[in-house]
């Protein structure tokens, strides 16, 4: 019992000693500006990234909207004639149809067929 009381007293006095030292260590003077500055920089970075993301979303939405608006009249105008880009397809078709086995004549025949097809298209 006496030992227990002695131990309690001992703990209390040690606690008091430790409690007295609680304000001995403090933060260094430059910690406050450092924390505030870092927080501001982090906040600015966050806001910049957020705005950048927002701008990217808006740009992609605008692009999608523009594309859908531009596509609208093309669909409504009905069947269209082949354009110049379809010349590539004509060339491929002509090469397949060429009966000659000589490579140089094949080119000539393909070119001739292409011109014929282009002329037919122009007449339409």
């Amino acid at each position: 019992m006496t030992e227990s009381l002695g131990s309690t007293f001992e703990h209390e006095s040690i606690e008091a000693l430790i409690r007295s030292a609680k304000n001995y260590v403090r933060a260094s003077d430059d910690l406050r500006p450092r924390v505030l500055e870092t927080a501001r920089v982090r906040r600015r970075e966050f806001q910049f990234k957020w705005r950048l993301g927002l701008a990217a979303v808006m740009l992609s939405s605008c692009g999608w909207l523009m594309a859908s608006v531009l596509r609208q009249p093309a669909i409504e105008s009905g069947p269209t004639f082949p354009t110049v880009t379809s010349a590539g397809q004509l060339v491929v078709g002509a090469e397949v149809a060429a009966p000659s086995t000589d490579a140089s004549w094949q080119i000539v025949e393909s070119f001739t067929q292409l011109r014929v097809k282009q002329a037919r298209l122009l007449r339409l």
């Binding site: 001992e10 703990h11 006095s13 040690i14 606690e15 000693l17 430790i18 409690r19 007295s20 030292a21 609680k22 304000n23 001995y24 260590v25 403090r26 933060a27 260094s28 910690l31 406050r32 450092r34 924390v35 505030l36 870092t38 927080a39 501001r40 982090r42 906040r43 966050f46």
Partner: protein, 187 residues
């Protein structure tokens, strides 16, 4: 205990403002908590610089993500836990370089009328730094932060009984290490 509750209430006011206003309210929270957070972190990292890094990281994270506190019941306990986690990460990294304890590294403050007690303060810090960190942190939270073992258990994610047992072990060791200082102080 009343002081601890009042302090916790003031921390809540500051964190509420931080959630509402943002970074602009961080200064008030820093002024209120920095010293306590640094001295708590010092017991884990054992270096002033590392402790301040832990406090800085936790406060900056809180300022950039104030929503972390939205559903928190006790912001002060949450803040202590954040600093503890950061301090443990930094402490683990630093221990690979050095394990020495250096009191000269600490930034201290001692009023003129307390100058004669400085030796006992230094002895207290030296003794705390010789304890295992898991015991030292319980002592700091119990004596300096005036928390209950249940609250300490919540912060450290241990049971209240474990917290109490660590405290008892720590106090026994501290009593042996600080006996000479206590005698001088009593004289």
């Amino acid at each position: 205990m009343g002081l601890a509750i009042a302090f916790s209430q003031r921390v809540r006011e500051c964190t509420d403002r931080l959630t509402a206003v943002g970074v602009g309210a961080l200064g008030a929270l820093f002024d209120l908590t920095s010293q306590r957070l640094v001295r708590f972190a010092v017991t884990l990292t054992r270096r002033q610089h590392d402790a301040e890094d832990a406090v800085q990281t936790a406060l900056v994270r809180l300022a950039s993500e104030p929503q972390l506190l939205r559903n928190v019941q006790c912001p002060w306990a949450y803040l202590l836990r954040m600093v503890r986690n950061e301090a443990l990460v930094i402490g683990r990294r630093s221990q690979r370089c050095s394990t020495s304890v250096n009191l000269a590294d600490l930034v201290t403050r001692c009023r003129v009328d307390e100058a004669e007690r400085e030796e006992s303060y230094r002895a207290v810090y030296s003794a705390l730094q010789t304890l295992p960190p898991e015991q030292a942190e319980v002592v700091v939270l119990k004596i300096w932060e005036e928390l209950t073992f249940a609250q300490i258990g919540e912060i450290l994610e241990i049971s209240p009984n474990t917290a109490a047992s660590r405290y008892q072990y720590a106090m026994t060791k501290l009593a042996a290490r600080l006996s000479s200082v206590r005698e001088v102080t009593c004289d």
